[in-house]
């Protein structure tokens, strides 16, 4: 019998929630086939079977979160006996170790025992250290499939006690629905007005249920809330805005697109792709913007990885165009489109949306004049791009109509000073107004 464990997808992943079992108990599975759909704090991912056999036992039911490394299912022969105690990680390990020779080329599964008490793999989705809970309360939570991470402990030292679990069970049906909190922010790409200091609990209590519709937070929404609150609260933002004349850029883009349409793999280049390229080149020239603030020092990144904010129905995600400075414009366009597509389909992989060094957020398509964006930590700056608008401009003493866009750079003042931000923006402006610089 082989144990299927919650895989670790990305460094920050601590647990995953089973959204859907694609295979049912008793169904045959082949190595490489999709087994289940898992929601992490960032994306939904399908996990594949690493061994062939019968899906004998689903340990973690749909809608339930399980920590990385915990057992979620068993795959084995149809006549193989199931291990007696599925909840004991130790027993499971032994079983899988004993049957190791039967399955070849399978990486050895080393479960990370987190919570062995629960026979159903129900545990905590808390990430801020350990949750104190009495043994009895823990057992009650497990028996009722309650994720106690959302339960407020009223015992000494904030310990969750029996009464707290009973109260939580009374409040909600015995399913794994985290206590709903009203969504405080509209679903928008990184941006607009700063996320306010999270007042969720008090807010939740004060609102009359007749006046609101409660929308439970998705893992992605929670991540956005947490990360951007953290950004706004810890890094002092300042903003520098520049107006960029885009007439030459538009002509340049048209030329490229005429060429690219006849490319062996045709592609359409957007203004944003050109902005990504410009930003990447500017970061090479002004590397002091390509940094992370690390409390006692600055970490200047040797690579330039540009994040491109992509709006999704359930939130937003920032796929990364790696080494954007070294890529050609067509390559950037193809990569960005591929990543955005993958993100919309929920198939983007953790390594494709982590490790960025700078982010571009573009609301130009929404007829936005300008806006300020919240820095995506641990990065130190983000460029917010508005719409290209025909604007009366003074050129050579004459008022003429020119196409222009406003870009606003948000910088973390702990890492970047105003003059550096301005020089960087100046470089971006120069590259976009004289776009041949992008390919030279």
């Amino acid at each position: 019998m082989k144990t299927v464990e919650m895989p670790k997808m990305g460094d920050s992943m601590e647990e995953g929630k089973i959204l859907r079992w694609i295979k049912k108990e008793g169904e045959p599975v082949k190595k490489g086939e999709m087994l289940a759909e898992v929601e992490t704090d960032k994306v939904n991912i399908e996990i594949e079977a690493f061994a062939s056999g019968i899906l004998r036992k689903i340990i973690v039911p749909e809608g339930t979160a399980a920590p990385v490394g915990s057992k979620i299912a068993l795959i084995g022969a149809s006549d193989e006996p199931l291990p007696g105690n599925l909840g004991e990680n130790g027993a499971g390990v032994q079983t899988s170790a004993n049957s190791e020779p039967q399955v070849k080329d399978v990486p050895s599964q080393v479960p990370v025992g987190v919570n062995t008490l629960s026979s159903s793999g129900i545990t905590t989705s808390g990430t801020q250290g350990r949750i104190f809970i009495s043994p009895l309360a823990r057992r009650l939570a497990a028996e009722n499939h309650l994720d106690y991470a959302t339960v407020q402990g009223t015992g000494p030292n904030g310990r969750i006690i029996k009464m707290d679990i009973e109260a939580a069970l009374k409040r909600q049906p015995p399913a794994i629905t985290p206590a709903p909190v009203p969504a405080a922010e509209p679903v928008m790409p990184l941006g607009a007005q700063p996320v306010s200091a999270a007042p969720e609990p008090a807010l939740a209590a004060a609102i009359d249920s007749n006046e609101v519709v409660e929308i439970p937070l998705t893992a992605m929404r929670r991540t956005i809330a947490r990360r951007l609150s953290q950004s706004m609260q810890t890094s002092p933002h300042f903003y520098v805005t520049s107006v960029i004349d885009t007439d030459k850029l538009a002509a340049f883009r048209q030329q490229i697109n005429e060429y690219a349409a006849n490319d062996p793999s045709p592609v359409k280049v957007s203004f944003n792709d050109l902005i990504v390229k410009a930003v990447a080149k500017a970061l090479l020239r002004i590397p002091r913007v390509n940094v992370s603030f690390a409390e006692d020092r600055l970490l200047q990144k040797k690579q330039v990885h540009i994040g491109v904010a992509v709006a999704l129905e359930q939130g937003l995600i920032v796929p990364i165009v790696r080494n954007a400075d070294q890529r050609g414009i067509l390559d950037i366009a193809r990569e960005t489109q591929r990543l955005a597509e993958a993100a919309r389909e929920g198939k983007i992989r953790p390594e494709e949306f982590s490790g960025g060094t700078f982010t571009v957020s573009n609301l130009g398509m929404f007829d936005v004049d300008s806006f300020t964006a919240v820095i995506n930590p641990p990065e130190s700056a983000i460029l917010a791009v508005g719409s290209i608008t025909p604007t009366p401009a003074v050129v050579d003493g004459q008022v003429v109509v020119r196409n222009r866009m406003k870009v606003t750079l948000s910088s973390d003042h702990r890492a970047i000073d105003g003059a550096i931000a301005a020089r960087f923006l100046q470089e971006v402006k120069r590259l976009l107004e004289e776009p041949f610089g992008l390919v030279l």
Binding site: P135, P156, I161, K162
Partner: protein, 332 residues
């Protein structure tokens, strides 16, 4: 029903057993002519005579050695040590001889004798004479250690101890001799088993586990708690070894919270042993850490004020219970 003292209950048990079985005899320091330091044996010398009520020298080792020898020889001695503090002089005989004989001689010899002795503080007997050593003896396989707290239990358990085939350390308490309790009429024979605790007061919010004199403080504490809306279950262990773990676990399953109240020292004592057993057997039923009320970790002071401060009080038990019963559970 009638009401008698703990002291009289002890005397009744001894007398009834002596009448029932002529192999039963008593010995100890000043127990014959003087009637015993705590007057437990008063009148028995007159009734049964010198042969069965014997004064001994001030030599605990001698008394214990004689009792073991007599038991091996077929008699049923009840020996009295003036206090448990003096039993340390006889502890080699108790631990290395009495406790081991049945085991080391292939199960052949029985060593049926009872060591009666008071323990505990509260009467200004100072550091050397106020101790509780039940833990020391209860640690040893081969000994039975009981500490009844009420006249009914002390009589029934002493009769069981006399009839038991093994050495029984029968630990009384200096401050319990005058405690009164209801009893069946003298004609109504009864015994109390040596291996069973008892729920002295049922409750649902918290279990107070206690024994000996602390039972009475615990019952008073439970009264106070009840006035504040907390229903405490009070369990009298009665026997320290063997321990009635099933009784404790059943109660913990109901209340989910435990206070252990004992007069002795905290470290490595009876209460800590009980706590470990409860965690082993009922961990998944615990909703709060076990609270442990004990005497102060000091040699008992002679000063009345300091002695009072060193002994656990009713309020200690009440506070310990309130510390782990959630306020929301309290029924006003």
């Amino acid at each position: 029903m009638r009401t008698i003292t703990y002291r009289d209950a002890l005397r009744e048990a001894i007398r009834e057993e002596m009448l029932r079985d002529e192999r039963v005899f008593i010995m100890g320091e000043d127990i014959a002519g003087y009637g015993g330091t705590y007057a437990v044996t008063r009148g028995l010398y007159e009734e049964f005579g010198e042969k069965r009520v014997r004064d001994t020298p001030l030599a605990e080792e001698v008394i214990t050695g004689v009792a073991i020898g007599a038991a091996l020889g077929g008699l049923r001695p009840i020996m009295e040590l003036m206090t448990i503090n003096f039993s340390l002089l006889a502890s080699d005989l108790l631990v290395n001889s009495a406790a081991k004989m049945r085991y080391m001689f292939g199960g052949q010899p029985a060593v049926p004798f009872v060591v009666r002795m008071p323990s505990g503080g509260g009467a200004q007997r100072a550091a050397q004479h106020s101790q509780l050593f039940e833990t020391w003896y209860a640690h040893v396989p081969g000994l039975k250690v009981v500490m009844p707290a009420t006249p009914y239990d002390v009589k029934g358990m002493l009769k069981s101890a006399v009839r038991d085939p093994d050495p029984v350390l029968f630990i009384e308490h200096e401050l319990l001799y005058n405690v009164k309790g209801e009893m069946p009429d003298e004609e109504d024979e009864y015994t109390v088993p040596l291996d069973r605790g008892e729920v002295k007061r049922p409750g649902r919010d918290i279990t107070i586990i206690t024994f000996s004199r602390m039972l009475h403080l615990s019952l008073q504490a439970a009264e106070d708690l009840a006035k504040e809306g907390i229903e405490a279950e009070v369990i009298d262990l009665r026997s320290i070894r063997p321990i009635d773990i099933d009784l404790l676990v059943d109660s913990v399953k109901k209340t989910n919270r435990v206070v252990i109240a004992e007069e002795g020292w905290k470290y490595y004592g009876t209460g800590q042993g009980l706590a470990a057993l409860i965690y082993e057997n009922a961990f998944d039923y615990m909703d709060a850490p076990i609270q442990h009320v004990t005497g102060a970790d000091v040699p008992m002071p002679y000063s009345k004020v300091l002695e009072r401060a060193a002994l656990p009080k009713k309020s200690d038990i009440v506070n310990a219970a309130k510390a782990i019963v959630p306020a929301a559970l309290v029924r006003k």
